[in-house]
């Protein structure tokens, strides 16, 4: 295939008929092709397979005495309900009506950024604190989505907290539990 016959090809005049010496060369093109194909496969499959992860830090449950009091008005509580819906409210439960929202750009992210700006302007630049309360009907993807929105909105102070019965009742009222 890749070899051109460049020998003279002259006739032997008279004499004995010699058997043609066949070339010992092997055409390795196909073999090299295959080898490189496999190399490419292994390179790609090894580097792309590295598991990726997000780091999570939970508040220490035992050290109660190191907690500092914070203004309730600085906190935003996000309740994760069923059907990929959530609701959020500012401050203490029951004092302000929760807003039912969805995950994503126009939902949670917008609320987070708006509330964060509001808290910063009313509390002299202090950052907002977000409490995430996943209910039993929410799934794992919801939790990760909520954490992702926090990360995108640059809110560093957040915690995952157990939900209270009052809040479950509220989720039920809004039909997302």
């Amino acid at each position: 295939m890749a070899e051109l016959d460049t020998s003279g090809g002259g006739k032997h005049k008279g004499g004995k008929v010699r058997s043609k010496k066949s070339s010992t060369r092997v055409d390795m093109t196909a073999m090299v092709d295959l080898a490189f194909l496999l190399i490419t496969f292994f390179i790609l499959s090894t580097t792309l397979n590295k598991p990726k992860a997000m780091d999570m830090a939970m508040p220490d449950k035992d050290e109660q005495n190191t907690q500092l009091p914070v203004a309730a008005s600085r906190t935003m509580t996000v309740l994760l309900g069923s059907k990929d819906k959530l609701e959020w409210y500012m401050g203490e439960p029951g004092k302000s009506a929760p807003t039912v929202d969805n995950y994503g750009k126009e939902g949670l992210r917008k609320a987070l950024i708006e509330n964060s700006d509001k808290v910063k302007s009313t509390h002299g630049g202090q950052p907002m604190i977000v409490l995430i309360k996943p209910s039993d009907k929410s799934n794992y993807a919801n939790l990760v989505a909520a954490l992702d929105e926090l990360n995108i909105a640059n809110i560093d102070i957040h915690a995952i907290v157990d939900i209270t019965p009052v809040e479950i009742a509220d989720l039920k009222k809004n039909g997302i539990y």
Binding site: R25, P51, M54, D55, K61, D136, V144, I152
Partner: protein, 202 residues
């Protein structure tokens, strides 16, 4: 004027050297390749925009899917030591063969009472067997002991703090995840990683 004849050169290149190098590299990549291990349950991992790459060793993975919990730790010696220590807690001793089989398992989800039978199966049976998951309820919190002993083993063998990761299915309801996190917090593991895929922030 005589025409200048360009000597017709052979287009054959000697590919022996190239071939050698190619196969050398191929051998290297085959040797170092670590294939993706099958999860005991199908796990669709959610996406997150800011991920870090996990290290290859010194890691323990808790897989959650279909309300079942599986546990696995990297490193043959850690696995052996963990099995021995957990066995002591439940008054079970494992034969060297069973320990050997256990040290090759990337992840498992069998209660300690059935572990001996599970390790005695041949590989074909093992594949077909549906693992019931490690009990995490308050009556028999075996996952707690597995994690605890694996951390101790890593401390004793490598003098490192074992990194705990959670690999959970997107559709898994929160209570199971919450319980696993509570188990981790009970032994003061407040920092851990959640395995996610990377997505672009939009």
């Amino acid at each position: 004027m005589p025409r200048v004849k360009i000597a017709r050169k052979s287009t054959v290149t000697d590919m022996t050297a190239m071939c050698d190098v190619a196969f050398l590299l191929l051998t290297f990549f085959i040797m170092t390749a670590k294939f993706k291990q099958e999860d005991p349950v199908p796990v669709a991992i959610p996406a997150y925009s800011k991920t870090v790459v996990l290290p290859e060793d010194n890691i323990a993975t808790i897989t959650i899917g279909k309300d079942k919990v599986f546990f696995g730790v990297e490193g043959v010696n850690i696995r052996k030591m963990t099995l021995e220590e957990v066995g002591k807690l439940y008054n079970t001793t494992f034969t060297p063969t069973e320990t050997q089989v256990f040290s090759t398992l990337p992840t498992f989800g069998v209660p300690i009472s059935e572990l001996k039978a599970y390790l005695g199966m041949d590989p074909e049976q093992m594949k077909k067997y549906t693992q019931p998951g490690i009990p995490i309820d308050s009556v028999s919190n075996q996952l707690y002991n597995w994690i605890h002993k694996a951390r101790e083993a890593d401390k004793a063998l490598n003098n490192k703090a074992l990194r705990i990761t959670i690999k959970c299915d997107s559709k898994e309801e929160y209570p199971t995840v919450g319980r696993v996190i509570a188990i981790l917090q009970k032994q003061k593991v407040n920092k851990f990683s959640l395995i996610t895929t990377t997505k672009a922030a939009n």
